[in-house]
């Protein structure tokens, strides 16, 4: 028991931290919201510091319910970084309207615990509990600006559709349990191996995949994404687009490889369909969007599609590519959203139209340059670093003898290049729109600069650092 608890130390740190901060919030009040936010970032850093040590020791806790391997460690650190970035983003954003409350960092911490459990799940029930913990916190976060109709609507939509997805997922879990006799990934896998994939098991697999696909917002379970992303407060959107995506993608990978490995042939078709549908729809539907947050929502759908190509490969390279993809994706997405946070008119009111970016290269050169880096990077144009994870994903597909998938997938990336170019065009070619109001949030500026540097060509120098970690993490699943 003691060993098991030691393996879950990051989660315990986060839990204790969340509870302490909740009490602090209750007694100190919203005036100290900023201090509590920084404290929450500290808690995340502390939790992250324990992760690598636990991964090297490695191990299974609570009789297989919880797995602390290098795969979970990689995803967890990434999730914590993204959550911390969302906290920094919120700290500078809400304050102005006077609607920032101390519950925000606590909710992010709770969501992070859920995400940590998702990526460490070794059992279908841990998976479900982690997913729900993450989601419940997220529903509240989506409607955090309760006086704003759009925010309330986003929360409600997210909740209703999320509940439906949870239902589908649970149904799949119960089918799998019924037909294989276990909820442990290992045992499910053995059962699938022993007597082939029966119809009941196949239904279970399909339902589980559909439920998780909702969380990663892969087509055709993406409908909620643009609405929720548009309605939720921008820092929350930045959070939704980064950390939960990483966690859900890692979870999907683990379930598919560890739990359903013997049924690869069956689920591969589903994943391929979702991957191509996501890249195509994420590319086409974004073209006409006038709202930058909706556009970035479609961009996230598009990116998930590419990451799913790595899953379709179902080999070590593919899993490693997914992790690498998510690492770079977090930097690009958080960076883009931090710039969206900067989009305020003279009065300090947020603006969300793409048209307001017109001529940004003349009114604010560094900001325009950073945004251009993120856009070209999201489009996967070398020499920007966004090219590299796409490269790895397609490489994995080619190695898995899915060259046709790589060819089709890569051509769909040209579709999405169009709307990323549109933003660059708006910033660089068009006549200037009224300049944005001044902002002086230093931590955000540092984060934008750091993300931009990471996805700039300098990022290639980080490959020798990240690649072994991702490869090592991928080996944990095979």
């Amino acid at each position: 028991m003691g060993e098991s608890l030691a393996l879950t130390l990051p989660e315990i740190i986060l839990t204790v931290g969340a509870i302490v901060l909740m009490l602090a919030a209750a007694f100190a009040g919203d005036r100290h919201a900023r201090t509590i936010t920084w404290a929450a970032i500290g808690v995340l850093a502390l939790a992250a510091a324990w992760v690598p040590g636990i991964a090297t020791a490695g191990g299974v806790a609570f009789d297989g319910l919880f797995v602390a391997d290098s795969f979970a460690a990689f995803a967890k650190v990434l999730v914590y970084i993204a959550a911390a970035a969302a906290l920094v983003a919120a700290n500078g954003w809400f304050g102005r309207a006077g609607d920032y409350r101390a519950e925000y960092p606590v909710l992010i911490l709770l969501s992070s615990i859920g995400m940590g459990m998702m990526v460490s799940a070794g059992d279908l029930l841990t998976l479900y509990v982690g997913l729900e913990l993450q989601s419940l916190a997220a529903y509240v976060l989506a409607s955090f600006q309760r006086t704003d109709n759009r925010s309330a609507e986003a929360g409600l939509k997210y909740f209703v559709l999320g509940a439906l997805a949870s239902g589908i997922l649970l149904y799949g879990v119960s089918l799998l349990y019924g037909f294989t006799g276990s909820t442990l990934f290992g045992d499910v896998s053995v059962a699938l191996q022993n007597d082939g994939v029966s119809t009941g098991e196949l239904f279970g697999i399909v339902f589980v995949l559909a439920g998780i696909a909702f969380k990663v917002s892969a087509v055709p379970f993406h409908m909620w994404t643009p609405d929720v992303y548009e309605g939720a407060p921008t820092p929350v959107t930045a959070f939704f687009a980064s950390a939960p995506k990483v966690a859900a993608m890692a979870l999907l990978t683990r379930v598919a490889i560890e739990g359903m490995g013997p049924a690869t042939f069956e689920w591969r078709q589903i994943v391929i369909f979702m991957a191509l549908a996501s890249t195509i729809l994420g590319g086409v539907a974004a073209i006409g969007q006038p709202n930058i947050k909706r556009l970035l929502a479609y961009s996230s759908i598009n990116n998930v599609g590419f990451a799913l190509i790595g899953l379709a490969a179902a080999n070590r390279e593919g899993v490693s590519a997914i992790l690498f993809y998510m690492a770079v994706y977090v930097a690009m997405t958080v960076g883009s959203f931090l710039i969206v946070l900067r989009m305020r008119d003279e009065a300090g009111e947020p603006v969300e139209t793409i048209a307001s970016l017109s001529g940004l290269s003349r009114t604010n050169k560094p900001l325009a340059a950073a945004m251009a880096i993120f856009m070209f990077s999201l489009a996967g144009i070398p020499p920007l670093f966004g090219f590299w994870p796409k490269f790895l994903v397609f490489d994995a597909a080619v190695r898995a003898d899915l060259t046709w998938l790589a060819a089709v997938g890569i051509v769909t990336s040209a579709i999405s290049a169009f709307y990323y170019l549109k933003i660059v065009k708006t910033m660089y070619f068009d006549e200037p729109a009224p300049a944005y109001g001044p902002t002086a949030d230093v931590p955000q500026t540092i984060l934008i600069a750091a993300a931009a540097l990471f996805v700039s060509p300098l990022g290639y120098l980080a490959i020798p650092l990240i690649q072994p970690l991702a490869d090592n993490a991928a080996s944990a699943l095979f």
């Binding site: 290269s361 144009i381 070398p382 090219f387 397609f394 060819a407 065009k425 660089y428 070619f429 290639y460």
Partner: protein, 512 residues
């Protein structure tokens, strides 16, 4: 001399970054200094290149990216194309000295970045490093066309970007497959790998999709006239001078030596498209009223000589193709500069607005005539050497191709002389055109420098052929096994029996 290639890549890059932090005039001087230093380094490179020595020289290797390496190295073909790039760059900067007024620091930075990426393509010895340089060039060119271009610049920039992007993406998948098959990313090692014939077909098509767009070959050339017309003068020079050569370089470096069987298989595809391009685009050029468009279409026609020469599978054809690439880089660049000179004065590219320029701009008329003649392929200029060799090569491969391609020379003379006649001869049609001053010192130096090299290439092409000879020989040895037999043979030798047999059949037919 190890490290000189990295240094040549670093100089423009550092200058580009420096440009962003200074004023307009500071940026101009930094850009000029950066490009001149690179040109000087280029001369050092050529001087130290050991002709007849190792195939790959100045090799650098640093496996800093884990999956691929910072591997640089050049052979003679790459050397010549690098020289072309570093020679044209200072001229581009000078050409933009006064004509670009807005956002000068960014403009200069974009050009310097472009230089790094272009010469990087020629230097790369790692297939993925090549791809990154090859593809990255889209970003600065997109910005150059989109920010400093003409009225319809946004459409042109999108078209340029998306056309070339779609072409290149399939090439990446092919590269992934090749690396997976051969287990190496090194271009010299891949050059020695024999890919199965079945796979070659697909790989060849994927590479063709990329290089044919870049080249550009008919019918995927339509982005070029738009991009040329809208781009600022220096942008057109770089586009025509160097960027189009990336396609030809790709064919020489990848398609032909790596997939010889497939190259033979698609012989008629390449020749067919090239023949159409030569005749069709020449005719289109004949009816243009826009000077830049006319030269753009002439570029498509000239590039067809390159593809014909490359896929002729013989030494003359290949050497001709390489010389056409070099001379066209200089000549079309110079022609765009000539257009730029009068565009700066009158702000129109309409041919009809000019006329009789020989009267008030004699120096300009002389240089313009020289470049017109070089474009036509007059002996004594680089154009003649390249096109002549290329035609010999194509005739040896197929007499039909040789015959059709030769009409391109006639049509080329027609549209170029017609252009020159309308612009320079006769009496001026407009008082403002008649009042234009002759070349200033800046323009004279840039055009004069190109003119000198064009004549040098025409009179003593050996200087340019010598470094490439060895590499052409190696390439020929590599593709020999797949070369098409060709239909042009001497009557005296092996074909005699066949010819007499044909004669007999014909006689028999007449008898019946």
């Amino acid at each position: 001399m190890t490290g000189i290639l990295s240094l040549m890549l670093a100089v423009p890059l550092v200058a580009a970054l420096a440009c962003l932090f200074v004023s307009a005039s500071g940026a101009r001087w930094i850009a000029l200094a950066g490009t001149l230093i690179d040109f000087a380094l280029g001369i050092v490179l050529w001087a130290n290149y050991d002709i007849g020595g190792a195939q790959w020289q100045f090799v650098e290797y640093a496996p800093v990216f884990s999956r691929f390496a910072w591997a640089l190295g050049i052979d003679g073909i790459a050397l010549m194309l690098i020289m072309l790039s570093v020679f044209l760059m200072p001229i581009c900067i000078v050409a933009s000295w006064t004509s670009i007024e807005k956002r000068v620091p960014e403009y200069m930075a974009a050009f310097l970045l472009m230089e790094t990426l272009m010469i990087g393509v020629f230097m790369a010895q790692d297939i993925f490093l090549f791809y990154i340089f090859f593809e990255a060039g889209l970003i600065p060119m997109f910005l150059i066309i989109g920010i400093w271009g003409g009225a319809n610049r946004i459409y042109a920039s999108y078209k340029f970007f998306l056309y070339t992007l779609v072409g290149s993406l399939l090439m990446l998948v092919a590269m992934l497959w090749m690396v997976n098959f051969a287990g190496t990313t090194s271009i010299p090692k891949l050059l020695a790998t024999d890919f199965p014939a079945q796979a070659q077909t697909w790989l060849w098509l994927a590479f063709f999709a990329s290089f044919a767009v870049k080249m550009p070959m008919w019918p995927v050339h339509t982005w070029l006239p738009d991009a040329h017309v809208q781009a600022p003068t220096a942008g057109s020079v770089i586009l025509a001078g160097v960027l189009l050569k990336l396609g030809g370089y790709g064919f020489v470096r990848f398609s032909l030596p790596m997939f010889p069987e497939a190259s033979n298989e698609f012989f008629w595809l390449v020749m067919g498209l090239s023949m159409v391009a030569i005749v069709y685009t020449s005719l289109v050029a004949l009816v243009q009223n826009d000077m830049k468009k006319l030269i753009a279409y002439s570029s498509v026609a000239h590039m067809a000589f390159v593809t014909i020469g490359i896929f002729a599978f013989n030494r003359q054809g290949l050497e001709g193709a390489l010389i056409v690439m070099l001379s066209h880089g200089l000549v079309s660049g110079a022609l765009f500069l000539c257009v730029g000179v009068i565009y700066d004065r009158l702000h129109t590219r309409e041919i009809d607005r000019y006329g009789g320029l020989a009267n008030n701009m004699p120096a300009y008329a002389v240089l313009f005539l020289l470049f017109t003649m070089a474009s036509v392929g007059l002996p004594g200029t680089g154009g003649f050497v390249g096109e002549f060799l290329s035609l010999i090569g194509s005739y040896r491969a197929s007499s039909l191709v040789g015959a059709v391609a030769t009409t391109g020379i006639i049509l080329g003379a027609a549209y170029m002389l017609y252009l020159y006649w309308r612009v320079a001869y006769g009496t001026s049609r407009n008082p403002d055109a008649a009042a234009m001053p002759d070349l200033n010192a800046r323009e004279l130096v840039s055009l004069g420098a190109i003119a000198a090299v064009v004549l040098w290439m025409g009179i003593y092409p050996e200087s340019f052929l010598a470094p490439m000879r060895n590499d052409v020989g190696l390439l020929m040895a590599r593709v020999e096994r797949a070369a098409p037999s060709g239909d042009a043979h001497l009557a005296k030798s092996s074909n005699v029996p066949a010819a007499s047999a044909a004669h007999e059949t014909a006689a028999e037919g007449a008898h019946h």
